[in-house]
C-alpha cells in the first residue's frame, strides 16, 4: 500500500480542486451561450451609464456637497444592489431615483432624454433576465436576442412618441413660454391614475411573486431502491 504522492502547498491544493471539479463536471450542450456574470456586468454597465447621465452627476459643488456625495453613494449602492439581487425591486428603485433627479434639470428635450428613455427600458429588462440567471449559470444568446427584439419593438414606438412630444414642446415653448397647462396636467394625472387602477390591481395584489432562487418545498422522498439498499460504504 502506498500513499498518493501529493504536490505540497497551494499548487497541490489547486491541482486537487481542479481534479475534483473536472471529475464532477456536468456539461450541457447549449447553443451559443455566455456566462451569467457577464449579464450582471452588462447590467452594472447600463446602470452606471444611467447614473452618469442623470442629474446626480452634475449637481453643483458647494455647501450641499455632502448631500451630493451622499446621493451619489446612495445611487451607486442601489445600483450595486440591483446587480447583486436583480430579482428585487432595486432596479425599479434606481430608475425612479434617476427620474426624480431629473426634476432639478431644466425642462425640455435633449438627446440625453432619448438615451435615458432607452437606458431605463434596457436596464429593467436586463434586470428581469438577470433575475433568472445565477452568476455561474449559462445563458443562451438566443434568449438575449429575443428580448432585444422585444425591447426594440417597444422602443421604436416610445422614441417616436418622444419625438412628437419634443416637437410639441418646441411649438408650445414658442407660443407661451413652455410647460404644460394646468388642465393638461390634471388630465395627465388623471390618465396615469386610471392606468394605475387598470394595471396594478390585476398584476400586483393577486398572488405572491415567486422569486428566483427562493426556497422551495423539498421534493417528495423517493421510494427505497432494493438494489441499492444494501450496505455500501
Amino acid at each position: 500500500m502506498t500513499a498518493t504522492p501529493r504536490r505540497p502547498g497551494v499548487l497541490g491544493l489547486a491541482s486537487g480542486l481542479r481534479h475534483a471539479a473536472r471529475a464532477q463536471r456536468i456539461e450541457l450542450e447549449l447553443g451559443r451561450a455566455v456566462p451569467g456574470w457577464t449579464l450582471r456586468v452588462g447590467l452594472g454597465g447600463v446602470g452606471g451609464l444611467l447614473v452618469g447621465l442623470s442629474r446626480a452627476a452634475d449637481l453643483p459643488v458647494g455647501p450641499t456637497q455632502v448631500f451630493v456625495a451622499m446621493a451619489l453613494v446612495g445611487l451607486v449602492g442601489v445600483l450595486c444592489a440591483a446587480v447583486v439581487r436583480p430579482g428585487s425591486l432595486t432596479a425599479g428603485a434606481l430608475v425612479v431615483v434617476v427620474g426624480l433627479f431629473e426634476i432639478g434639470r431644466p425642462a425640455g428635450f435633449t438627446a440625453r432624454t432619448f438615451v435615458l428613455i432607452l437606458l431605463v427600458h434596457v436596464l429593467l429588462r436586463l434586470a428581469a433576465v438577470a433575475a433568472q440567471v445565477g452568476w455561474r449559470a449559462r445563458l443562451e444568446v438566443a434568449v438575449l436576442t429575443a428580448q432585444a427584439r422585444e425591447v426594440a419593438v417597444v422602443q421604436v414606438g416610445v422614441q417616436l412618441l418622444a419625438l412628437v412630444a419634443a416637437s410639441m414642446s418646441l411649438v408650445t415653448a414658442g407660443a407661451d413660454g413652455g410647460g404644460l397647462g394646468a388642465w393638461a396636467r390634471v388630465g395627465a394625472v388623471g390618465g396615469v391614475l386610471a392606468l394605475v387602477a387598470l394595471l396594478l390591481p390585476r398584476t400586483w395584489f393577486r398572488s405572491p411573486h415567486p422569486q428566483a432562487g427562493a426556497r422551495r418545498p423539498p421534493p417528495p422522498a423517493r421510494p427505497p431502491d432494493p438494489l441499492r439498499a444494501a450496505h455500501r460504504p
Binding site: V95, G99, I103, Q147, A166, L180, P210
Partner: protein
C-alpha cells in the same frame, strides 16, 4: 393564466417604476420625465397580456439507443445500460433532457444535477420542444442514477414564471471499461484440442514436435520427403513430421465484492461517503476483471466469473463475445450485498483453471480462499485492487489504525506470496507490466505442465 404561472417581481418593479415616473412627470408638467416611464409600462402591459398556457414538461432520455431491454441470459432484469467511453477517471455518461414548453414561453431555466456533482444551470431558449445534451464525467461504474433535471418555464418578457418541474428519476448501469493489457499468464494446465496456446500433446495446429518413422495411423500428407530422402535414400523407411496440438486456457475471475472502499481510510468505516471523484476498490476490480476477460476472450480462452461476497451461481467458463458481455454485465451488477456470509471453504472451481482473485485483502477471507486454490494445484494470481491510500488528512488515531491495518495486510500479502500466489497491484503500479512478467514466466517453457 394556468395554475403554476406566477408574476415575477421584476415586472412588478418595472411597472411600479414606470407608473411612478409617469405620475411624477404628469404632476410636474414634465413630459420628458413622464416619457421615461412609458416604455416600462407599455412593455409590462404587453408582457402581461401574452399569457402562457399549459405546463413545462421535462423527461430524461439516454444518450445511447439500440441496446437490449433485458440483460444477458442468467443475469436477470437490468436497468438501462450505458457504457462509459474511456477508462475510469475520465468516463463520460451521456443523456438528453427533453423539454416541452407551451406557446409563449420565452426561456426555460434548466438545472441539471447528480448525486455528488455540482449542479449546472442554464437559461435556454425552447421553441415548443428541444433536446439538451448532457455529458457527465464520472469515475464510478455499476448501477447509479443518471441525472436529475429541473425545468422552470419563463413567460414572455420574463413577466411570469412557472413552478419548477422535475424529471422522473432514471437509473443506468455503467459497464466497466476495459483497459488495454499485454500478454497474460496462463494456467499450469491447458485444456482441449483447439485454442490459441500450444500444448505438449501431439496433434495438429502447433509447432514441430519431432520427426518420427511412419507408423500405421499417420497421415500420408505428414510425410516429410526431404528427411526421408536424406535418411532413407532407398525409401525403405518413411518419416513424418509430428506437431503439437493447440489448447485453450480456462480462467476463473473471482471478485471479492464484500469491500467497496475508497482511497480515504476515514471513509472505510462506512459512515462517511466516498468522494464522487474517487474510484473505489470495486470500480478498480470491475475494470481489472473486465480488462483481463476481454483480452482472454479475444484469444479464444474460456473465462468464468464468481463472486466471493455472495452465494450465487457463478458464470461458467465459456468463450465468445456473448460470454464477454455476460461477464461484464455481471461485473457491473456486482456490489456489496448486506452482511457478507462466512464461507467455510473456497468456492469450487474447474480443475486446472487459472484463478484470478480481485480483492483488497483487508481481511483474511480472500487470502484464505486464494491459498486453498493454490494448494489444490491451481495457478492463482491475486490482483490487489485497493486504491492508492490518501492518508494526508487523517488524524493521529486514524493514522495509528491505518498503520495496524497496513501491517496486517502486508503480512497477509507476504504469506500469499510465500504460498505461491502471484501478486499484481492494480492501483499502485503498472498492472500490464506485472501481468506481462507473469506471462513470461509461464511462457518461457512452452507446454510445461500441459496435460497429456
Amino acid at each position: 393564466m394556468n395554475e403554476g404561472w406566477g408574476r415575477t417581481s421584476s415586472v412588478a418593479g418595472g411597472l411600479a417604476a414606470g407608473l411612478t415616473l409617469l405620475l411624477v412627470g404628469a404632476m410636474g408638467g414634465r413630459p420628458e420625465i413622464a416619457l421615461l416611464g412609458v416604455a416600462p409600462v407599455i412593455a409590462a402591459a404587453w408582457d402581461l397580456t401574452r399569457r402562457t398556457g399549459g405546463r413545462v414538461d421535462v423527461t430524461l432520455r439516454r444518450g445511447r439507443e439500440g441496446l437490449p431491454d433485458g440483460g444477458p441470459d442468467g443475469v436477470g432484469p437490468a436497468p438501462d445500460i450505458e457504457t462509459i467511453d474511456d477508462t475510469p477517471g475520465d468516463g463520460r455518461l451521456r443523456a438528453r433532457v427533453h423539454i416541452e414548453v407551451p406557446d409563449g414561453t420565452a426561456a426555460v431555466r434548466l438545472r441539471v444535477g447528480r448525486a455528488g456533482s455540482t449542479t449546472t444551470a442554464a437559461l435556454v431558449r425552447v421553441d415548443r420542444t428541444r433536446d439538451v445534451g448532457v455529458t457527465v464525467r464520472t469515475v464510478r461504474t455499476g448501477p447509479q442514477d443518471l441525472v436529475r433535471a429541473e425545468a422552470q418555464g419563463v413567460g414572455a418578457g420574463f413577466a411570469t414564471i412557472d413552478d419548477p418541474v422535475s424529471s422522473a428519476p432514471r437509473e443506468v448501469l455503467l459497464l466497466p471499461a476495459a483497459r488495454r493489457l499485454g500478454p497474460l499468464p496462463l494456467p499450469f494446465r491447458l485444456r482441449g484440442l483447439t485454442g490459441a496456446h500450444e500444448s505438449q500433446r501431439p496433434g495438429d495446429g502447433g509447432g514441430l514436435r519431432d520427426v518420427h518413422p511412419f507408423v500405421p495411423g499417420d497421415r500420408l500428407r505428414r510425410i516429410d520427403w526431404r528427411v526421408t530422402a536424406r535418411r532413407s535414400p532407398d525409401l525403405s523407411e518413411l518419416y513424418v513430421r509430428r506437431t503439437f496440438a493447440l489448447a485453450d486456457a480456462v480462467v476463473m475471475l473471482v471478485v471479492d465484492s464484500r469491500d467497496d472502499v475508497g482511497p480515504d481510510p476515514a471513509t472505510w468505516s462506512g459512515f462517511e461517503p466516498v468522494r464522487p471523484q474517487d474510484p473505489t476498490s470495486l470500480d478498480l476490480a470491475r475494470q481489472a476483471a473486465a480488462s483481463i476477460a476481454r483480452d482472454l476472450v479475444a484469444v479464444g480462452d474460456r473465462v468464468g466469473l464468481d463472486d466471493l461476497g455472495v452465494r450465487r451461481r457463478p458464470v461458467a467458463p465459456g468463450g465468445g463475445r456473448r460470454q464477454l458481455d455476460r461477464i461484464v454485465h455481471r461485473l457491473a451488477l456486482t456490489h456489496p450485498e448486506g452482511e457478507p456470509t462466512v464461507r467455510l471453504r473456497a468456492p469450487q472451481l474447474p480443475s486446472g483453471a487459472l484463478v484470478v482473485v480481485f480483492s483488497t485483502f483487508l481481511d483474511d477471507a480472500a487470502a484464505r480462499a486464494a491459498r486453498s486454490w493454490r494448494r489444490s494445484g491451481h495457478r492463482v494470481v491475486a490482483v490487489d485492487v485497493l486504491p492508492r491510500v490518501r492518508a494526508a488528512a487523517l488524524n493521529q488515531r486514524e493514522r495509528l489504525a491505518l498503520r495496524l491495518v497496513v501491517i496486517e495486510r502486508t503480512d497477509r500479502l507476504a504469506e500469499l506470496a510465500a504460498n505461491g500466489v502471484e501478486l499484481v497491484p492494480w492501483a499502485a503500479g503498472d498492472p500490464a507490466v506485472e501481468l506481462a512478467r507473469l506471462a513470461r514466466r509461464s511462457h518461457r517453457r512452452p507446454g510445461a505442465g500441459v496435460a497429456r
